[in-house]
C-alpha cells in the first residue's frame, strides 16, 4: 500500500525538521522520536522513503555500493560492472527480528541444497547508504542494541559465525521511535542519536480534526489521497536535494562555532559530540532554507533537537530539558 505522504502530516514540525536534517546531512547521527501514542511518529518516518532522491549503485551488489567507492565484495567480482539508480533503502527492523537476520548469516538454502557456504546478508547490509528504522527502539533486546551500537559506530558489519567470515560496509542513518512510558532507552544508545525530540498529541481541536480527517480520507482511497499531495511532495523532494547539494557551500563563521560552544557550556553537555551535531544541524537547517550562511537563528532552532538528550539530567528533575535549553538560548544567543 502507498504510504501516507510526508507533506500530509499535520503539525509535528519538529519531527519533520529533524528528519529533513537527517536527509540533508546523513552524518548527523540519526534521529530519535519519543512521545505519545498515536501521534504519527512511524507514519512520518515511513513516509520519508518516498522523498529521498534515488542513488547510484553497482548493479547486483548486495550492499548497494556507490560506484565511485566500490566495496571489497564488488571488486572481488570481475564481471563487468553496471551502474543503476535505485531508491534509497529505508529498512524496518521489527522487534521480533533474530540476530541472524540483522547481521546476516549462512545461507541455509544454499548450504542445504548445494553444500555451499554462502553468506546471506542481513538488514544491516540492506540499510547500507540508507536508513534503518526501529519502532519501539526502547523495547529492543539488549544484545541487538549492543550489536547496532557497534556497527553504527564503526560503519562496518563484521560477521563471524557458522564458518562464514564477512566484513561489509554498513553506514546507515539510525531512526528510532518509542513511547518512554513503556521503558526507557539505555543511556548508551540514547547518546548515539544525533537528534532527539518529543512528540506530543496536538491540543487544539482544529488540528485534531484535520489529523483525523486526513487519516480517514487516506483510508478511503490511498492513491487518490497521495495524488492530492503529489505537488507538495515533489516540491519538498526538490528542496531536500537542493539543500543537500548546497550543504558544503553553507558557511559556518567563527562566531557560530564559538556560540555553539558557549551554548553547550551553558548547558553542561557531555563531550564534543553535541557541539558538532549542533553546528551540523544548524548548517543543514540553513541549507534547507536556501541560505548560504548559518545564523544564530538556525542554531536556536536546532539546539533543542541536538542537545535535549545530552543534558546531564537528574532522574527526578521536574523542569523539562526544553526549558533549560530555552533559557540557555536566551542567555547565549540573546533570543
Amino acid at each position: 500500500m502507498t504510504p501516507f505522504p510526508f507533506t500530509a502530516i499535520v503539525g509535528q514540525e519538529e519531527l519533520k525538521l529533524a528528519l529533513e536534517i537527517a536527509v540533508v546531512d546523513r552524518s548527523i547521527g540519526g534521529v530519535l522520536a519519543f512521545g505519545d501514542r498515536g501521534t504519527g511518529k512511524s507514519t512520518a518516518i515511513r513516509a520519508l522513503a518516498r522523498l529521498l532522491p534515488p542513488m547510484r549503485v553497482v548493479d547486483g551488489c548486495a550492499y548497494h555500493c556507490d560506484p565511485a567507492t566500490d566495496c571489497e565484495m564488488c571488486s572481488e567480482n570481475d564481471r563487468a560492472r553496471n551502474d543503476v539508480e535505485v531508491p534509497v533503502p529505508v529498512v524496518d527492523l521489527p522487534l521480533g527480528a533474530t540476530e541472524d537476520r540483522v547481521v546476516g548469516a549462512l545461507d541455509l538454502e544454499a548450504a542445504l541444497t548445494r553444500g555451499e557456504r554462502r553468506f546471506s546478508p542481513g538488514l544491516l547490509a540492506s540499510a547500507h547508504r540508507g536508513f534503518l528504522y526501529i519502532d519501539e527502539v526502547n523495547l529492543l533486546p539488549d544484545h541487538l542494541v549492543d550489536l547496532l551500537l557497534d556497527v553504527a559506530a564503526s560503519g562496518q558489519n563484521v560477521v563471524e559465525r557458522e564458518g562464514v567470515s564477512v566484513r561489509h560496509p554498513a553506514r546507515f542513518v539510525l531512526i528510532g521511535s518509542g513511547n518512554p512510558e513503556e521503558g526507557e532507552l539505555r543511556p548508551q544508545l540514547l547518546d548515539r542519536f544525533g537528534l532527539s525530540l518529543e512528540v506530543r498529541t496536538p491540543v487544539d481541536t482544529a488540528t485534531r480534526v484535520e489529523v483525523v480527517k486526513r487519516r480517514l480520507e487516506y483510508d478511503r482511497d490511498p492513491d487518490a489521497f497521495v495524488d492530492r499531495f503529489a505537488h507538495e511532495e515533489k516540491t519538498l523532494m526538490r528542496r531536500l536535494s537542493d539543500a543537500r547539494a548546497r550543504l558544503s557551500e553553507v558557511a559556518v563563521s567563527d562566531g557560530i562555532v564559538e556560540r555553539a560552544s558557549l551554548l553547550c557550556q551553558a548547558l553542561d553537555t557531555d563531550g564534543l559530540r553535541g557541539e558538532l551535531t549542533l553546528i551540523r544541524a544548524g548548517r543543514a537547517a540553513a541549507s534547507l532554507d536556501g541560505c548560504r550562511e548559518v545564523t544564530d537563528r538556525d542554531l536556536a532552532r536546532v539546539a533543542p533537537l541536538a542537545l535535549r538528550h545530552r543534558l546531564r539530567r537528574s532522574p527526578l528533575d521536574e523542569v523539562g530539558s526544553g526549558v533549560r535549553i530555552d533559557k540557555a538560548i536566551a542567555d547565549v544567543l540573546s533570543m
Partner: protein
C-alpha cells in the same frame, strides 16, 4: 438503546471493517456470559477466527522456518505465522492482560500497517495481515489490564465488570438461550454487511462531524488521536450500514457512544461551569467556517435536527456510553488515581515476564534440562557439512551441531523505596533525601534495574511508583506525592513485605530501602496510640526480616537515635544514618547489597 443492543451493534460494525476498527477490548471474568459476548462480537461470517494464546512463541506468531518440512525436503521451507494466517479474519486473544511485549508489538504493528514483517531464521518476507482483534481481558480488581498500546488501537471497549444489572441479566439470558454455539448471521444480514463493505469506500464525513467527535473526546478526557480516528471510522461504517453515503448526526452519536464513552477519564464539565471558561465557549475560526462550507451538500436531516447543537448531543451520547461502574468511579473522583495505577501495574506486570531471561545470542552446547535446543541454529550449523556426511535426501544432524539459545539470566533487581511521607518534618527530610533517591534511581536506570516506591502517611501505605524501569513514570508518580498526617510505620513495612513477596514470585530480587526516623504513632488499624504503634512496627519489621530480603535502613532523623537502630536490628537491616551519607555512597551501598543478594 440498551447496552446489550450496543454489543450487537458493535459486532455488526466490526463485521463490516474489522481491520480498520481494530476490534474489541472485552473485559470481564471468563465464563459463559463473556464467551457469548465474545462469540457475538467475532461473528464475522466468512472470516476464520484464530486463537492467539498469550504465551505464543515468536516463530508461531511471525512465522519462520518450517522445520519438519525443511528437514525432509533438504531446503528451506517457510511456515506462515499466526498474524499472516489471520489475514481477513478475526484474532481471538484470550488472557490479553498477560500478553508479552514481544507479542504485543507485532500485533500492534499489524493493526497499524496491515502487514507483518518477518525477519527471522534467515528469512525476509512481508505478509498481509489485516484482521480485527477480540482481546479478552480477565484482570480482576487492581490487576494488570491488557496493555494500553493494544487497547488504544481497538475501537470498542466493553467492560462487563462495569455493566449495570439490567444489561447483565439480559446477557445471561442470551447465554442461556444460545449456549456456546458459534453465532451465525442470517443471509439478509450477511448481505447487508457485504453491501456496507462496498459502500464504505464512498461514505463522506464532513468536518463538522469530526469536530463534534474531537470536542466530545476532549470533554471526556480522551486524548488519544487514535481514539478520535476510530470514532470517525465507526461513524463512517455506521453510515454505510444504514445505506447512506454520508455521515449524518445519528452516525456520529453512535460512534461517540460506542467508541468514546467507554474511554472516558472524566465526566464532561456541566454547562454552568463551562460558561465560566470563556476560552472553551467560542468555537475557533476554523470551525466557524466549517458549517457553511458543507451546508450545500449537507442533507436536510442534520439541519432539521432539534436546535441543540450537535456538539452537545455528541457529548451526551458519549456520556451514555460510559458503563455504569466507570461512571461511579468517575463521579467519586477515584478514576484518576485508579486508572493511573491500573496502567502502572499493567506495564509492570507485562514487562516482568519478558525479563526473566532475555535471549542473548546462541552458543554450541548440548541441550539439557534447562537448556533448550535452538533448532534453526542447529540446522544452520549442520548445513555446510551435508555433502561430507553424504546422507540421503534427509539432513543429517550430529551432536556437534547442537546450538542452544543463550539467555542473559541475571536476575532483575527491583529497589523498593519505603518512604515516610508523614508530617511536614518528614517531608522536609524526604526533600533532603531526594538527592540520594535520585542517585539510586539514576544508577538503577543505567543498570536496567527497576525501582518502586511506597509512601506511608496518615491511615496507610500507598504504592506511589509501581515497579518500573521508566524514569519518566517514576518522576511523574513522585511529583504527585503529597505528604502530611500521622505515621503508620507498620503499614509501610507490611506493604513493603507484600511487594517484596510479589516481586520474588515474578523471579526478581527485591531490595528494600527504608527511609524513616523509626518513629511510629499510628497502629496498623489506624488508631493513634504511639505505644501500640511502636509494637506493631516491631512486629512488621520482624515479618519483613523473615522474608530474608536485603534491607537498608536509612535513618532520616537529624540526630540519629537508638530507637531507629533497634528497629533496624529487628528487621535485620543494614543501618545507615542519612546525615553522614552522600548520594554516591548510598547508591554504592544499595548495589553492593544487591550484588550480595543475587
Amino acid at each position: 438503546m440498551t447496552p446489550s443492543n450496543d454489543i450487537a451493534l458493535a459486532a455488526e460494525l466490526l463485521a463490516v471493517d474489522p481491520h480498520r476498527l481494530g476490534g474489541v477490548w472485552l473485559h470481564g471474568a471468563s465464563g459463559p456470559v463473556r464467551d457469548r459476548v465474545g462469540l457475538e462480537l467475532g461473528a464475522a461470517q466468512d472470516h476464520p477466527m484464530l486463537r492467539l494464546p498469550a504465551h505464543i512463541t515468536e516463530d508461531r506468531l511471525l512465522g519462520g522456518l518450517a522445520l519438519a518440512e525443511t528437514l525432509n525436503a533438504g531446503r528451506a521451507v517457510v511456515q506462515q505465522g499466526l498474524l499472516a494466517e489471520a489475514d481477513g479474519g478475526i484474532l481471538w486473544v484470550p488472557m490479553a492482560e498477560r500478553l508479552e511485549p514481544q507479542t504485543v508489538q507485532p500485533l500492534c504493528a499489524a493493526l497499524d500497517r496491515g502487514q507483518t514483517a518477518l525477519e527471522r531464521d534467515g528469512l525476509s518476507r512481508s505478509y498481509a495481515s489485516r484482521f480485527g482483534v477480540i482481546a479478552l481481558d480477565e484482570a480482576v480488581g487492581e490487576e494488570a489490564r491488557a496493555p494500553d498500546e493494544l487497547r488504544d488501537r481497538l475501537a470498542f471497549w466493553i467492560d462487563l465488570a462495569d455493566a449495570d444489572r439490567g444489561t447483565l441479566i439480559e446477557l445471561k439470558k442470551a447465554a442461556l438461550a444460545e449456549g456456546p454455539e458459534p453465532v451465525r448471521r442470517d443471509p439478509a444480514q450477511q448481505q447487508r454487511i457485504a453491501a456496507s463493505r462496498e459502500r464504505l469506500r464512498t461514505v463522506e464525513v464532513d468536518t463538522r462531524a469530526l469536530a463534534a467527535l474531537c470536542e466530545a473526546a476532549g470533554a471526556l478526557g480522551v486524548e488519544s488521536l487514535r481514539a478520535m480516528t476510530l470514532a470517525g471510522r465507526a461513524a463512517q461504517v455506521h453510515a454505510a450500514l444504514r445505506g447512506s453515503d454520508e455521515v449524518e448526526d445519528a452516525d456520529v452519536l453512535v460512534a461517540a457512544r460506542l467508541v468514546l464513552g467507554p474511554r472516558a477519564t472524566r465526566i464532561p464539565v456541566p454547562e454552568e461551569a463551562e460558561n465560566e471558561m470563556p476560552p472553551e465557549a467560542p468555537p475557533s475560526p476554523a470551525e466557524d467556517e466549517a458549517p457553511p462550507a458543507d451546508g450545500e451538500g449537507e442533507s436536510d436531516s442534520s439541519r432539521s435536527q432539534p436546535s441543540e447543537p450537535l456538539q452537545d448531543r455528541v457529548v451526551e451520547a458519549a456520556e451514555s456510553g460510559i458503563p455504569s461502574g466507570l461512571l461511579d468511579r468517575l463521579r467519586s473522583g477515584r478514576s484518576h488515581a485508579r486508572s493511573a495505577r491500573f496502567t502502572g501495574r499493567a506495564r509492570g506486570a507485562h514487562k516482568a515476564s519478558s525479563e526473566k531471561g532475555r535471549p542473548a545470542g546462541v552458543r554450541a552446547a548440548r541441550p539439557g534440562r534447562d537448556v533448550r535446543l535452538n533448532v534453526v541454529e542447529t540446522l544452520r550449523a549442520a548445513a555446510p557439512w551435508q555433502r561430507l556426511r553424504r546422507g540421503t535426501n534427509r539432513v543429517q544432524v550430529r551432536p556437534e551441531d547442537f546450538r542452544v539459545t543463550r539467555y542473559r539470566d541475571r536476575e532483575q533487581t527491583c529497589v523498593v523505596f519505603v518512604v515516610d511521607a508523614s508530617g511536614s518534618a518528614a517531608m522536609q527530610r524526604l526533600g533532603e533525601a531526594k538527592g540520594a533517591v535520585e542517585r539510586v534511581l539514576g544508577d538503577c536506570y543505567a543498570r536496567r534495574d527497576q525501582v518502586a516506591l511506597i509512601a506511608f502517611r496518615r491511615d496507610g501505605a500507598e504504592l506511589v511508583v509501581p515497579p518500573t524501569r521508566s524514569l519518566t513514570r517514576a518522576r511523574r508518580c513522585l511529583s504527585g506525592l503529597v505528604g502530611g498526617g500521622t505515621t503508620p510505620l507498620a503499614s509501610g513495612l507490611d506493604a513493603a513485605r507484600r511487594l517484596a513477596e510479589d516481586l520474588r514470585r515474578k523471579g526478581r530480587t527485591p531490595i528494600v530501602v527504608l527511609m524513616t526516623d523509626g518513629r511510629a504513632n499510628v497502629t496498623r488499624d489506624g488508631d493513634k496510640d504511639p505505644a501500640r504503634a511502636a509494637t506493631d512496627a516491631r512486629d512488621s519489621a520482624k515479618a519483613l526480616a523473615g522474608l530474608g530480603t536485603p534491607t537498608l535502613f536509612l535513618d532520616t532523623a537529624p540526630r540519629p537515635r537508638p530507637r531507629a537502630q533497634a528497629l533496624a536490628l529487628e528487621m535485620n537491616a543494614t543501618y545507615l544514618p542519612l546525615p553522614y551519607l552522600n548520594a554516591a555512597a548510598l547508591s554504592q551501598t544499595v548495589f553492593s547489597i544487591a550484588k550480595q543478594a543475587s
